[in-house]
Amino acid sequence: MDLDVVGLSRLQFALTALYHFLFIPLTLGLSILVAIMETVYVMTGRTIWRQMTKFWGTLFGINFAIGVSTGLVMEFQFGMNWSYYSHYVGDVFGAPLALEGLMAFFLEATFVGMFFFGWDRLSKVAHLVVTWLVALGSNLSALWILIANGWMQNPVGATLNPQTMRMEVSDFYAVITNPVAQAKFVHTTSAGYLVASMFVLGVSAFYLLRGRHVEVARRSMTVAAAFGLAASLSVVVLGDESGYLSSEHQKMKLAAIEGMWHTEPAPASFTAFGFPDQAARKTHYSIHIPWVMGLIGTRSLTGEVPGIYELVKLADLRIRQGIVSYDALEQIRALKGRGPVPPELTARFEEHSAVLGYALLLKRYVDDPRQATDAQIALAAGDTVPQVAPLFWSFRVMVGLGMYFILFTAVFFYLSAKRKLDAYPWLLKVAVWSIPLPWIAAEAGWIVAELGRQPWAVEGVLPTAVAVSNLGIQAVLITLIGFVVLYTVLLFVEMKLMMKAINKGPEPDHAASPGAASPLIGATPALRTAPMISTE
């Protein structure tokens, strides 16, 4: 990636999105876990469950605040750094974002205040409804943003309007029911549930190891183990669904993840390990598992999974077809909406309009794609290969961790069913050390999905290099540095506060005594100097 405006803008978007995505999965899962705990409290009336609700709710709140503010950055960045993108696909992409605001953000953000401030002002049931509405809001917001993101991966239900020179919605139902978006939604929310489950398991294990807050810890672990096992199974199954869908809609992404340079005779093998070399277009020292790739990609023993070489050849052809469509488009646009468009021109435009985006790949090399030389077309076709090595590795990290999570949550589910959660201290230590792992898997998942989409902003429709705003390099550098500095400070502060809240532990639940729920009053000097989490 060159450090020009495109490269810096991509870097800024990736860093702010990855950072935002540190907080979102925990919000998604913890909101539901907290709501489950409060439901138990309301149904049984046992105050320990309220104590648990408040404790995990406090951690939820610390996390939620940064999620909201970094989300605002995401909402604004499309227009700031990707103005041609915003113009070109705003008619389709903007609607889910606006609906996300209307349906989800207002819900979660309005009721999250009630969650914290409403304990004394609301009845038990009303407060429970508030908590569930926060959880519903968070999860609805994931639905809409993944419908938007799913459209970037698989742009259905839209056509290019030559008069306005942008994509416009032709079938909104198709945009909402996009299979890629559906699979992504369940995969991503499950990942969020898993992050939260592993977080609750790890923190509770820390308490059990220390012999503190044992009652709260044990109950929390029981809830989290069951929830986490369901989530980890769902993550992997829906991850597989995503892989299958990529073989349909994003063949290049799948080939790059695989480091699969040549089409293999069906059923293709899966490369379990190796060192992909982009320059040589080869994967060194690779270890293959026969048949598996063919099964994942085509769910058959006869379907072919195309390799990178073949896909580049296909891209070359599509660029040439795209140029024909682009030429017709320019002629239609030259009429400036005055007078009728000759039908043969429309026909020529529409014949290959599905691959018109491929002609735009040439804009990096030549202003008018129609003037492109064969060499430039070859270069542009070569650009359709994403960076193979990071995809190859991120994918393997994600999948390996996914398998580990199934095993891990299954073990804890078994232990909690047998009421033996504290029988094996070494397992509890593993749980504490496992807290960061689902975050690593989630970030790796983002890298696979979005780096794998390159060079496209919208797959096959709009190249990233064309989508960017015409900004000066200094302006982007200034904001990039600004975000990195501020975000780093915030991350540091957030982690300290989280650890402090964890060290302090749940407040004793004496509903009558004032000060019980205050996070401020209880912060005695002794607790403030207490050590951070360790497996001691």
């Binding site: 709140g61 610390i62 605040a65 940064i66 909201v68 605002l72 950055v73 604004f76 227009g79 700031m80 750094n81 103005s83 041609y84 113009h87 070109y88 705003g90 008619d91 992409f93 903007g94 609607a95 974002l97 606006a98 609906l99 605001g101 209307l102 349906m103 953000f105 207002f106 819900l107 953000a109 309005t110 009721f111 205040g113 914290f116 401030f117 409403g118 304990w119 004394d120 002002r121 008069q163 306005t164 020179m165 942008r166 416009e168 919605v169 909104f172 705003s469 015409n470 302006a475 904001t479 501020l486 502060v493 957030e494 506060l497 019980a516 729920a517 205050s518 996070p519 401020l520 912060a523």
Partner: protein, 385 residues
């Protein structure tokens, strides 16, 4: 799907222009008072307890309020994609300043009370001041620039080129507009604090509110005169096609001196209601502060900022974002919107969800009704910040 043709394209465009106003007003009224409260924090509250009282007046509601801004961004993206693309990339560094300032707020609210150190808390107090002041100022400055026309041009393929730097935004008229924005939000924040607190904080808030209301009236008047005397308006010179494709380059436009931005008020006298509400609301809020009628003060202050925001839109109609260097590229209501179908779908979504949002937001304010008590804060009840 042909449902969307139930409403004509030009009708939908006009409705979405109105809704753009509704969103901006919603943001200015709700997030406006907590931005204003943030600006007043170091001045209206002196002791730590007072400052916590002030923060707790907005603590339960700022997150919901800020969603108006997020929704504003999303709705402009969906309904006016060109406006979103040109303004957010053109005002690039200004937008980044708003974002960086706003990020300080949530963390400020949450983290300030988590440690006892005086230095820690006072640092966050000033962070909260910046988080209120910078967005208030910059959004006003942006409005001031929009009224003058913004130096952008559109290439034939609709690529956007912005040819003014960050410092070009800081011209005298725009700064004046920025001060109007700060003054009105301080007035609004002070009205809120007068309503939600008592004792020394309320007394100081009232004092700041009185000054801010007078300042708002004076600066708004000066800005109006400057707009009349020094700022060119714009006029579409080609035939106005209200149902055509959203391509700004299909029309011709010229700049026009001599109060062109006031032509709408002559053509449609009822639109004078907007600037009148701006003045009258601020004046009545001033009376309310003097007479200690806090509920009414809050209402009139809301009327005033709504009037001021809407007067900008009414002056410029049908222009939304004029271009100073390629007037033809100016974005108008008739050529910068989304497609017919998207506008319709979004309208359905808005008609379903906006009333629901208003209902539950009102319910939350009702639950939280009443003054924030300093005893309650120091007693640590109900999870105070």
């Amino acid at each position: 799907m042909i449902l969307h043709t139930l409403l004509d394209y030009d009708v939908l465009r006009f409705i979405w222009w109105i809704l753009l106003g509704v969103l901006l007003v919603g943001f200015a009224i709700t997030d406006g008072f907590d931005l204003g409260t943030g600006i007043l924090l170091p001045f209206a509250a002196k002791t730590d307890l007072e400052r916590r009282v002030v923060i707790n007046t907005i603590g339960p509601v700022w997150e919901g309020n800020q969603v108006w801004l997020i929704l504003g961004g999303g709705a402009i993206f969906a309904a006016w994609p060109q406006l979103y693309a040109v303004s957010f990339s053109g005002f690039y560094l200004a937008m980044a300043a708003i974002l960086l300032a706003l990020i300080l707020r949530p963390v400020g609210f949450k983290y300030r009370s988590k440690r006892d150190s005086v230095k820690w808390r006072s640092a966050w107090d000033w962070a909260l001041f910046v988080g209120g002041f910078v967005p208030a100022l910059v959004l006003g400055v942006a409005m001031g620039n929009v009224l003058q026309g913004v130096p952008f041009r559109l290439a034939p393929d609709m690529q956007i080129f912005y040819e003014g730097g960050f410092f070009g935004l800081l011209n005298p008229f725009a700064l004046l507009a920025g001060l109007v924005s700060v003054a009105m939000l301080v007035m609004h924040g002070a009205s809120w604090l007068a309503l939600k607190t008592d004792g020394a904080v309320a007394v100081r808030a009232r004092r700041f509110g009185i000054v801010a209301a007078i300042t708002t009236i004076a600066l708004y008047a000066v800005a109006g005169l400057a707009l009349w005397g020094f700022i060119d308006g714009y006029r579409i010179t080609s035939e106005i096609i209200t149902t055509g494709p959203s391509n700004p380059l299909f029309k011709t436009v010229e700049a026009q001196a001599g109060g062109a931005w006031f032509a709408n008020y002559a053509a449609h006298p009822w639109t004078i209601a907007a600037p009148l509400a701006g003045f009258a609301g601020a004046f009545l809020a001033l009376l309310g502060l003097l007479r200690r009628r806090e509920g009414w003060t809050m209402i009139f202050s809301s009327v005033s900022i709504s009037g001021i925001v809407l007067s900008v839109g009414a002056s410029m109609f049908p222009f939304i974002l004029p271009s100073s260097i390629q007037p033809q590229a100016s974005l108008t209501v008739w050529d910068a919107s989304s497609s017919h179908m998207t506008l319709f779908i979004m309208l359905v979504g808005t008609c379903v969800f906006l009333p629901i949002i208003l209902v539950y937001t009102s319910w939350v304010y009702k639950v939280l009704w009443g003054k924030v008590d300093s005893k309650e804060i120091s007693g640590g009840k109900s999870h105070a910040y």
